[in-house]
């Protein structure tokens, strides 16, 4: 009997939850705010779905009900991707070690 591909995706999902669990516990508490902003940025990989939706028009019609939702989702996700990664970068650049020469 063949295994439904859904089971494979489910396996990836479950294992990723465990990876997330262990990886996040090892994040130092002082970086919890950057953790939130970077998870924000990466969860915007949902833009993949938005792009597929926006490019789904068949024929010359660029804007239809489904593509408009796609375009809107692209804007939202793009705000998050750029905003999330850049603000994380900005925060992380501020974390400095004590200078030794004191």
């Amino acid at each position: 009997m063949e295994i439904d591909p859904f089971i494979f995706r489910l396996s990836i999902f479950i294992l990723s939850i465990f990876i997330g669990y262990y990886v996040v516990w090892s994040v130092t508490p002082s970086l919890h705010t950057p953790l939130m902003s970077v998870t924000n940025a990466i969860s915007s990989v949902i833009i993949v779905g938005a792009i597929i939706a926006a490019l789904s028009s068949n024929g010359d019609l660029v804007f239809s009900t489904s593509t408009i939702y796609g375009f809107l989702a692209i804007i939202l996700a793009a705000i998050n991707i750029f905003g999330g990664f850049l603000v994380t970068q900005r925060m992380l650049a501020m974390y400095k070690k004590k200078k030794k020469d004191k």
Binding site: I12, I46, G84
Partner: protein, 464 residues
């Protein structure tokens, strides 16, 4: 591009996202981690373009919209002050949620584009996944909007409760499940829209009864939701990058909520059901009598600190409100010039989001190896000369250790009272958000400094 090749590339981008989180285990590796995250995102987006392979007019529009969103995002990222980080994160969560809803709607309206069947005849599994993605996305959106409004101060941070609230919420949650069930059997688009509307409503209702100081839990919880929404859509689109990311973000948010709840010694449900401090508050304020406090000025504080050999600073949300972090750092610099050892003690729930205080101190150029977590530093208070409490309150209240009647009993607190002397910067004697009096105010060795945190810190520096 072949389906197998794009699947492998999506997998790679998922792995890069794991590495991005892994990098955050220490500040040195964190910047590299962020870079991995960016590379992962670029791969995911490029692969999508190549596998759709539609480079006509629509593609130009996609690029335009991408640039518009990116421009807005970049602008926000550079202009936002660090004190507004909780609002920003809440706002970003709402966008992820709404994007998930839009993608789900688009997939429902035009399922052929996603290989999910035809309108009115969508594959059952896809429909379930789509409904979950849309519902969780909608909850994330409206919940985050409320959290944002509360954090911005546009909406009162006080919990909004009414009779029968929990019953209504329970009914709505059950109706979401029932709606999903009927949606799957009838494929009716009307039910799909109702499902989304009801989900928006429940997100709103879940967050309004939660008070301002519980925001660390709320933000982490919404962070988790945004991940589960993304994972739901990932299943619909059969996309590994989305599934991996959704799972990572979902568990990350869940862990942060757990840490925050533990920092307050409250169960997750206790926070979610909201209305904290409502009944307990009245019983406590009844037996409140006038007790003497010692108050002092900047001169007294400077004198105490000058004669100390070690000082521990305890920052809280009040420091963020007063934007006192830079003034504080200047004060500490002066102390260090006098050979006084200074360290910072951070309670897990200080501020309005996980790690809030650490970011503010980092912004003020405080080296991160002078900043310690509760467990690391709590034993040092007994050996320190001065504790300087700036904008924190409940997290220092010794009642949590001594009075089993207190609503915050059992919450881990910083042992500030063990210091030889305590300087407490506060505007007035008013209790903290838990509505309980802080015993620390009345201790023999406490000196209250009634002033704005920033102004007081500046004045102390002048007097040092």
């Amino acid at each position: 591009m072949s389906a197998n090749l794009s699947a492998i590339l999506y997998l790679i981008s998922g792995v890069l996202f794991i590495l991005a989180l892994r990098g955050l285990s220490s500040p040195e590796t964190s910047r590299q981690g962020n870079l991995f995250g960016i590379i992962g995102m670029v791969i995911a987006i490029s692969v999508t373009f190549l596998s759709v392979g539609n480079f006509t007019t629509g593609f130009i529009y996609v690029l335009i919209f991408l640039a518009i969103g990116g421009g807005i995002g970049a602008l926000i990222a550079y202009r936002i002050p660090m004190t507004a980080m909780p609002e920003l994160v809440a706002g970003f969560h709402s966008l992820v949620g709404l994007a998930a809803v839009f993608v789900a709607i688009s997939a429902f309206v035009n399922p052929q584009a996603f290989n999910l069947g035809t309108p009115g005849n969508i594959k059952l599994a896809s429909l379930i996944e789509m409904s979950i993605g849309a519902a969780v996305g909608a909850i994330t959106f409206s919940g985050s909007v409320i959290a944002f409004l509360k954090l911005q101060g546009i909406m009162s941070g006080a919990p909004i409760t009414f009779k029968g609230q929990h019953l209504i919420n329970a009914i709505i949650l059950i109706s979401i499940i029932v709606l999903t069930f009927y949606l799957c059997s009838t494929q009716s688009s009307k039910l799909f829209w109702i499902l989304i509307t009801v989900s928006f409503l429940i997100g709103f209702l879940i967050i309004i009864p939660i008070g301002g100081a519980d925001m660390p839990v709320v933000i982490s919880m919404l962070n988790s939701y945004s991940g589960w929404a993304a994972a739901g859509i990932g299943f619909t689109l059969e996309n590994t990058a989305l599934i991996i990311t959704g799972a990572l973000v979902g568990s990350s948010g869940a862990i942060l909520s757990y840490i925050m709840c533990k920092g307050m010694n409250r169960s997750f449900f206790n926070v979610i059901l909201g209305g904290f401090g409502g009944t307990e508050q009245s019983s406590v304020s009844k037996n409140k009598e006038q007790r003497p406090v010692k108050s002092g000025n900047a001169d007294d504080a400077a004198f105490l600190m000058k004669n100390a050999s070690s000082v521990i600073i305890v920052p809280g949300y009040g420091m963020a409100v007063a934007q006192a972090q830079h003034a504080l750092r200047e004060m500490v610099d002066t102390l260090k010039k006098n050979d006084i050892k200074v360290s910072y003690a951070i309670h897990p729930v200080a501020g309005r989001m996980p790690g809030h205080m650490n970011v503010l101190l980092a912004e003020a150029n405080v080296p991160y190896d002078e900043v310690f977590e509760l467990e690391e530093i709590n034993n040092d208070f007994a050996n320190a000369d001065v504790a300087f409490v700036i904008g924190a309150n409940d997290v220092t209240n010794p009642v949590a250790k001594t009075d089993p009647q207190s609503p915050i009993y059992g919450m881990p607190v910083l042992d500030v009272e063990k210091c030889k002397s305590v300087l407490f910067v506060k505007r007035s004697l008013s209790p903290g958000y838990a509505g309980i009096d802080n015993d620390l105010f009345y201790k023999e060795n406490t000196l209250m400094l009634f002033a704005d945190a920033k102004k007081m810190t500046e004045d102390i520096t002048k007097n040092l």
